[in-house]
């Protein structure tokens, strides 16, 4: 597979208010491949959001490099192209809605890119269709639920024809239904449209849906692997202040009681089948 985002020896240093320097990202090396669904987990302050903001040049590396589709984000000539390629969705749905009508909100991105009106309209129709929000086209966004607002935000990214979606805790403020709506929309985009997805979350059951999980701690990538590889390391994740799916924890606890259960179990069904064959 071809890397879409390549990060080499990247550091990011913030100047804190007290004048001290804080190393938010410490020598990161990673690649995100075309069409991949990567989940990033880690405690608050581990550098997840700082990392994600480098993917669409909202932040520029203090040292090292970040390339998006071969474009160096430190080169200011590339910034607008990078931002068109990589769309961001943030945690708070209310902070990213700009217009008074859903269709205008979705049209905002392409309008700014100077797309022709007829083409914008077609893109808005298509984007709202993909996220299942066509019937709300003429609604006022502030009357929508959180999950619906996030789907409008995702539609806004699609209307810019970005091929990579970076979501920074998009479900943190949503209820279980809203969370499910957003996650299944993202999975669908990934599967059907081969959109590259970077998904930051505290909800381990969402991270399980990814192809690959990256675990961050104190500005470094400390673990990387398939969900089964990552979530079976119960003690390690707990040390990092993270949760594990209930089934993985149960499997771990049962193993401690000498009950034979295969490694790599992360879902309820896998565990139940392992115990009652």
């Amino acid at each position: 597979m071809e890397p879409f985002i390549t990060v080499k020896d990247m550091c990011h240093i913030y100047a804190a208010q007290d004048g001290n320097e804080v190393k938010a990202l410490d020598n990161i090396n990673l690649s995100i491949y075309k069409g991949e669904f990567v989940a990033i987990i880690g405690a608050n302050g581990s550098g997840k959001s700082t990392l994600a903001k480098h993917f669409n040049a909202l932040l520029i590396p203090s040292s090292g490099t970040c390339h998006v589709n071969g474009l160096d984000t430190t080169d200011s000539a590339n910034i607008w192209l990078v931002r068109q390629l990589v769309g961001m969705v943030f945690q708070n749905p209310d902070n990213q809605i700009v217009a008074a009508v859903v269709e205008e909100d979705v049209a905002f991105g392409p309008e700014n890119l100077g797309v022709q009106p007829g083409e914008i309209s077609a893109r808005v129709t298509e984007a709202l269709h993909v996220v299942g929000m066509e019937e709300y086209r003429y609604h006022s966004p502030h009357l929508l639920s959180g999950g619906q607002k996030q789907r409008v935000a995702i539609a806004g990214v699609l209307a810019m024809q970005s091929n990579c979606l970076v979501l920074d805790e998009p479900t943190a403020m949503l209820d279980p239904k809203g969370r499910q709506e957003v996650l299944s929309t993202v999975c669908q985009l990934h599967q059907e449209r081969k959109i590259t997805v970077v998904y930051i979350t505290h909800f381990m059951e969402e991270a399980v849906a990814a192809d690959r999980v990256i675990v961050m701690n104190r500005g470094k990538v400390v673990m990387e692997g398939s969900p089964a590889q990552i979530f079976s390391q119960v003690t390690r994740l707990k040390e990092l202040g993270l949760d594990v799916p209930v089934a993985a924890e149960m499997a771990y606890r049962l193993r401690q009681h000498n009950i034979k259960i295969p490694e790599g179990i992360i879902t309820d069904e896998e565990l139940v089948v392992a115990i009652c064959p």
Binding site: N44, A172, L174, D175, P176, K177, V246, I259, V272, I275
Partner: protein, 285 residues
């Protein structure tokens, strides 16, 4: 002594095309000393209901009494009754504004005319209650604390008003698992030590199951279920699903075991108890 809602209805934007009944026909008594969890999906009326508990919203029809006082009347008595209900909104750390943790917590008590020596006593007391060491944190700016710490400062500011009822709207949203455990640990400790009444809105079913002694499920603006967490999570899964809320992950796992014919106890709410139950059953085979 309780908060009593009688036949409460609330209609947003009445007499406009956007008219929407947010809660309807709510009859509810919140007794002192209860720890109530409210769950329901977005738009089910949870937040609208909460805002009636301290008079932020006035019912379109119906009444709200706090300790016998109708809080939607005018006058001193209604004002005092409202003050006995402390409200912690979602993301309360966005409301921090003072230069130090001490000043931020002291703002509320000063604002209602508490004298300075008493303010000082209260700030010390609530900082201790939420687990922020006075010497370590009082002089610090709240804006450079971690998310979990900022949120505890915000909660401390509400508790400093010494409410009899503490209403918390999603206190763990956006925190990592460690921050969430910190916040809930402090809330449980406070509940046990002071007997304060707690009404908690949360999407985290596991925490609600573990902490609350009574659970209210909202659906389409109405109360659809009201009972103990164990009763509700183990006996009313159809209604929960209809209300758009899920059972805690542990309950879901135990239910799956049951479906596969293992006689586990599906009413357990802790991992320890679940492991014990499973070991008993698996050991018996």
């Amino acid at each position: 002594m309780s908060i009593i809602l009688e036949n409460v209805n609330y209609i947003y934007m009445k007499k406009t095309p956007y008219e929407k009944t947010a809660i309807k026909n709510i009859n509810l008594e919140i007794k002192r000393g209860e720890f109530i969890g409210i769950i329901g999906h977005t738009g089910s009326g949870k937040s609208t209901l909460l805002q009636h508990l301290n008079g932020l919203l006035k019912p379109t029809s119906g009444t709200v009494h706090v300790d016998g006082q109708d809080i939607n009347l005018k006058g001193e008595a209604a004002r005092n009754a409202k003050r006995s209900v402390g409200m912690v909104f979602q993301y309360p750390e966005h409301q921090l504004f003072e230069e130090t943790v001490y000043e931020d917590i002291a703002f509320g008590p000063r604002n209602i005319g508490i004298e300075e020596s008493e303010v000082d006593r209260r700030v010390k007391r609530v900082m201790d209650m939420v687990g922020l060491g006075f010497d370590q944190f009082a002089k610090r700016t709240p804006f450079q604390l971690s998310g979990g710490q900022m949120r505890r400062v915000a909660i401390a500011g509400v508790i400093a008003l010494e409410p009899a009822y503490l209403i918390l709207d999603e206190p763990s949203a956006g925190l990592d698992p460690r921050g969430r455990d910190e916040i809930f640990g402090q809330i449980i400790k406070m509940y046990k030590n002071t007997g304060i009444t707690v009404v908690l809105v949360s999407h985290n079913m596991e925490d609600v199951a573990r902490m609350a002694n009574r659970l209210i499920v909202m659906k389409d603006g109405e109360i659809s279920l009201d009972g103990s967490p164990i009763e509700i999570f183990s006996g009313f899964q159809g209604q929960l699903k209809a209300a758009g809320v899920s059972v805690p992950p542990l309950t879901a796992l135990m239910n799956t075991f049951k479906q596969y014919g293992l006689a586990v106890d599906h009413t357990v709410v802790t991992m320890d108890a679940a492991v014990d139950s499973l070991l008993t059953v698996v050991g018996r085979r």
